[in-house]
Subunit: 409 residues, 2 copies
Amino acid sequence: MENHSDIRINSERLERSLKEMGEMGFTPETGGRNRLALSDGDKVGRDLLCKWIIDSGFELRIDEIGNIFAYRAGTDKDAAPVIMGSHIDTVRDGGLFDGAYGVLGSLEVMRTLNDNNITTTRPVALAAFTNEEGARFQLDLMGSSYFTKARTLDVVYAVKDDAGLSIEGELKRIGYCGNKTIPYGNYFELHIEQGPKLDVEGVSIGAVEGIQGLAWWRCEYSGEANHAGSTPMELRHDTLLAAAEAAMEVEKLALRIGNSCVGTVGRISVEPDVINIVAGKCCFTVDFRQYDKALFEQGKHEVEDIFARCAGKRGLKFEFKRLVDVPPVSFDADMVSLVERKAKEIGYSVKRMYSGAGHDAQFVCKVCPAAMIFVPSKDGRSHCPEEWTDFADAAKGCNVLLQSVLELI
Amino acid sequence: MENHSDIRINSERLERSLKEMGEMGFTPETGGRNRLALSDGDKVGRDLLCKWIIDSGFELRIDEIGNIFAYRAGTDKDAAPVIMGSHIDTVRDGGLFDGAYGVLGSLEVMRTLNDNNITTTRPVALAAFTNEEGARFQLDLMGSSYFTKARTLDVVYAVKDDAGLSIEGELKRIGYCGNKTIPYGNYFELHIEQGPKLDVEGVSIGAVEGIQGLAWWRCEYSGEANHAGSTPMELRHDTLLAAAEAAMEVEKLALRIGNSCVGTVGRISVEPDVINIVAGKCCFTVDFRQYDKALFEQGKHEVEDIFARCAGKRGLKFEFKRLVDVPPVSFDADMVSLVERKAKEIGYSVKRMYSGAGHDAQFVCKVCPAAMIFVPSKDGRSHCPEEWTDFADAAKGCNVLLQSVLELI
């Protein structure tokens, strides 16, 4: 293929696309977007995306779970496509960029290929995966897990929303239950960081090496609810203090492991929750993440040791449940290097990093070589109306995607 | 007066009285007593008490706030009475002893004087104060504060319950709005400890020197709600961790001050309270008690320093409100010594101690010499159906009350 290293995407068109998609499901009362999977908001977003795919001359395919694909054929009929993907569903009152940026950035790359009349050997495809967020139907990464055969149709169709509505029924209602997929080739996912690292360090591009392993627990301490005035400190079985100590120990553990490790107590509640009664019960959660497989396993054991140790010190009963346990994911080393190299060639600052959040790429990377490209999130905010990435940064990420794709097709 | 040091109360009658009063407001579903102030449960308890007062030949007096007095005249018409008192109202699903023990113990002492045909110089009186608990009408120690003129009738009548019902209306409805009081003389209050000290140490009698000073705060931390996966530990403003640290610092403070000091975080709540989001807001309360006036003042400042220090370390905004601030109360030294001496003379083990909980005595001690007598609470439990004091221990406390009263009349 001839040298296309000077080609850049149309940043004005990318910005227009993002803003136009941002009107779909927009809720003036909150300033957020509500494109919960398979809702009316999601439908109008899908309709707009499909119109753009067709208007750009790409082949539209929709599969059984409502994943939307745009297919741009190559000269080699047997070659597997280079896929770019993400999602357009949002959480409740989500922002302009999470998911939509990856999908519209991919569309922009394909449009740029058209603009420059570039013929490719391998096909190029876009994938917009259904229900990445899991905010309405609470099984996240649904579309990508079905696409990669990690979950069967039976499993994903069995999930219902809080109103008891089914995936299949809602897919049919909004007209997105199809039967056409695409083959696996390579996979790139462009996404906002959803964390503050790039923003704080002033770096434009994150070459994402993988996704941190994730474990969630709910822990419950049972002690004794006693009068706060007449129960001496040394005779107490204070569950709130034990949970407080556990929360601080989890913080210390994450800092000690280092290596971008994070540990969070996000929920806590006590009983009887009365100002002058020592808390007899305390429930709290722990979210623990680490990308190194050995450190992830070690950290999980240490978290459970903390539960026991903090209970033991105060003579409490305790029980915990590991709610989630997803091991770390490593992306394809060559593809990560490709992203890093392309960013440098264009002249953008770039750093290797791990994703703290889950993404469709974590399923797709199991079936084909994959990598992700991150761009800065202002103040690390996401999943809220304030979520923001400067359009200049969005264009940079998209140019890295374009140049990385061009290398493979 | 002749020597009555061998006289003892009728322990079977005391037990019968306690059990019979325990049927008033009894709730089979919970096993608790519901004599919330001025409720139907309280009314049947009052009716039973008044019947006993009249049947025993004492003069019944009821004042404007519904305090019930039993008056046994002495030979000196001008002498001020020796008053014994407590309350018969309960919290929701309260136990057999809290309050009722003091009132029925006092009645038992007066009945014992009758049994032994003892004529006294000074009058002897019983006081059952209205709404000590503040569980329904949320201004506790209501009857004793009105009796001692610490609060005016306007102030106490202005309090309404959650249904908007007034004190005056409820007093009239149950027939306990009177206009007769008694003069101040000396005051004894017999009560269960509501804490575990006597039970744990195997001591029969507590000679109560005073009531700990009490301060309550509500503190709110505001930080930043961020993604638990993608926000590095060092860039967080985690309000839950700051509150956790504050809770542990309050514990350390109480242990460092010693001197029976207690500090408790009984309530805590976070926002958004989501497993994978760093808590952006955290509210918690502190209950702090200490009987030494200087240490109480010092401790209050240190608690507020803790609020600021734990917020500062994590770059949080904070605000707090001191909800309650009641200085320590010291009882009359001679009366405390009298209680201690009488316990020893009878042959009961006794220790001087402070009350961690509030009692009617803390108002009455402002207008006349007062002291309290504690008996053991099994496992320190109170304000619950499981609240328990062995009847043998109840009888011992009542004998100490009898002998202490006999010394003054």
